[in-house]
């Protein structure tokens, strides 16, 4: 039995660090990320929905409610796409559209980020230009297609103009929203650390607003992709080369419903793919790093 004196003896520094290590071990750990199996299941679960949709579609097709040229079956749509693939049009169109959207999106990020930072940091600028930005975001960018054709003709400039007008406002507004949600204490810490000007924007404001900014980027990508499809659908010219929008327009011109549905399916598939491969992992990583999900 220890005596009272032993109990009340001073804690030595070496004991202190050991006690602390013990406490640290007790208070942390015991957590792990999702298993490979869970990740796999998570990646595959959207396929279930696609399967259900194809089965329902097949049933409707069997019921013959409408003639085949109005509602083609999954098989016919598959054949139409296979036919395009044989002529090298399908992959060329898809890759060309993705390339355009990606390039337009990157330019949009480069333009929108300083705009968002400036408006988010300066309330006077925001009062003046904020409503215009919101107005541009509300306006469907397809409305710019006629204007862009008049200014730039049937050229790449037309297509990029429409993409930028679609994506820039979303990205800038997302960044501004993210900046509004920065916990004030981070900015106070920044002030105490002596952060000013560009280093402050780059090292503190931008990462602190990243969740909102990322949501803006995701929406900006969706707007870029939609705007591109609208532009490709309207601005059809051999000079512009192939694209999924053009493929859709070809289907319309030929009255080929299977090709129309196939093109729509491809446009959606690209959208889902980019979300799954690019944005979803980024979002998951962000949330996990910040301890917002396990």
């Amino acid at each position: 039995m220890p005596t009272d004196e032993q109990i009340s003896a001073e804690v030595r520094p070496s004991d202190l660090s050991q006690l602390e290590a013990g406490l640290d071990a007790l208070e942390t750990g015991g957590r792990q990320g999702p298993s490979v199996k869970t990740l796999f299941a998570r990646a595959l679960s959207p396929l279930i929905a696609i399967g259900v949709i194809i089965i329902i579609w097949q049933i409707i097709f069997y019921l013959q409610l409408q003639p085949d040229y109005v509602i083609p079956g999954p098989r016919q749509v598959w054949d139409a796409l296979a036919n395009q693939a044989e002529q090298q049009i399908l992959w060329q169109s898809t890759l060309n559209s993705i390339r355009r959207a990606a390039q337009g999106f990157i330019i949009a990020v480069i333009i929108a980020t300083p705009i968002g930072l400036a408006l988010g940091l300066n309330s006077k600028l925001r009062a003046v230009f904020g409503p215009i930005l919101t107005g541009l975001q509300v306006l469907p960018s397809v409305a710019w297609v006629p204007a862009a054709i008049i200014w730039f003709g049937l050229s790449d400039a037309t297509i990029y103009t429409v993409i930028l007008l679609g994506a820039v406002p979303s990205i800038a507004n997302g960044l501004i929203a993210g900046m509004d949600q920065i916990p004030p204490i981070y900015l106070r810490v920044g002030q105490i650390l002596g952060a000013k000007g560009l280093p402050r924007a780059w090292r503190i404001v931008l990462p602190a607003s990243w969740p909102g900014y990322l949501a803006g980027l995701e929406q900006g990508w969706a707007f870029a992709w939609r705007s591109l499809m609208a532009a490709e659908l309207i601005a059809v010219s051999p000079a512009l080369g192939p694209g999924l929008g053009q493929m859709l327009d070809t289907g319309r011109t030929l009255g080929d419903m299977a090709l129309v549905l196939g093109s729509i399916g491809m446009i959606m598939a690209v959208g889902i793919l980019v979300e799954r491969v690019v944005f979803s992992p980024l979002r998951q990583r962000t949330l996990r790093n910040r301890g917002l999900i396990r």
Binding site: S17, A21, E27, I185, R188, R203, R290
Partner: protein, 261 residues
């Protein structure tokens, strides 16, 4: 220097004229016709001194720290400091997008420490708070006490000689707080920093500091002062701490009761 050596930093007491923080006749009102938050507060803190400010809610103790840290400006009066201070809050407020080590490195970067030295220096600072193994951990993976220790390392990274602490341990459990008291004393003895510590925990103030200042509420004034000898930290359960703490608590209660009428 170690805890058990019984070192008295007070012994190297500075000349009367020397100060680390000098506050003279400071008045603070947030709006011109609003209440007076701080009323004619004057205070000299010697270099290397550990001073605690205690008081009930609304005594303006956090406001005073913000003024010293220059996060806010006083309505009148002057505040001089020997170099810029750094400030810690009740929350560790580590940046969640950076690992513990990177949080410390960011403070080094803003203090113009060359890139090549930052990593090693950050590791040293984490080792000082016994967290050398947590360099790559994210803030959410650390316990509250560990986060607050990283915050201490980050504050030390700035290389300032004055550390302002705004109820830094108020949100921690009793066991962790007890350890952090000992840690803080050890770091204070090792670095020789001037520390101004705000708390409403009287025992905490008595245990840690060389001087405890009691503040009144609405308006905030310094109404009493206790000088405390002996080496730090005292054990929380020591009779001396209990005795002095109850004396200060009595005064604090009188001050609170004054507001009931």
């Amino acid at each position: 220097m170690t805890l058990t050596s019984g070192a008295h930093p007070v012994q190297q007491r500075a000349d009367e004229g020397e100060f680390s923080v000098r506050i003279e006749h400071v008045v603070k009102q947030f709006t011109a016709d609003g209440p007076i938050v701080l009323d004619d507060v004057s205070l000299d803190v010697r270099p290397g001194e550990f001073v605690s400010l205690v008081g009930a809610s609304g005594c303006g103790k956090s406001t005073l720290l913000n003024l010293i840290a220059r996060l806010d400006t006083q309505t009148s009066g002057t505040i001089e400091t020997l170099g810029a201070p750094t400030l810690m809050f009740q929350e560790a407020a580590l940046f969640p997008w950076l690992t513990a080590g990177r949080n410390v490195e960011l403070a080094l970067r803003f203090s113009n420490v060359p890139r090549s030295e930052r990593k090693a220096r950050a590791q040293e600072l984490l080792a000082l708070v016994h967290l050398e193994r947590s360099y790559d951990q994210r803030p959410h993976e650390l316990s509250g006490g560990m986060r607050q220790r990283v915050a201490i390392a980050r504050a030390l990274a700035q290389g300032r000689s004055i550390l302002l602490m705004d109820e830094p341990f108020a949100a921690l459990d009793a066991i962790t707080r007890d350890f952090l008291h000992e840690e803080l004393t050890r770091i204070w003895l090792e670095t020789g920093m001037t520390i101004i510590f705000v708390t409403h925990n009287v025992r905490e103030a008595v245990r840690l500091s060389q001087r405890v200042l009691l503040m009144s509420s609405r308006p905030g004034r310094i109404i009493n002062e206790w000088n405390i000898g002996g080496h730090k930290p005292w054990r929380l359960d020591s009779p001396d701490v209990a005795h002095l703490a109850s004396e200060i608590t009595d005064e604090l209660r009188k001050e609170i009761i004054r507001h009931a009428n």
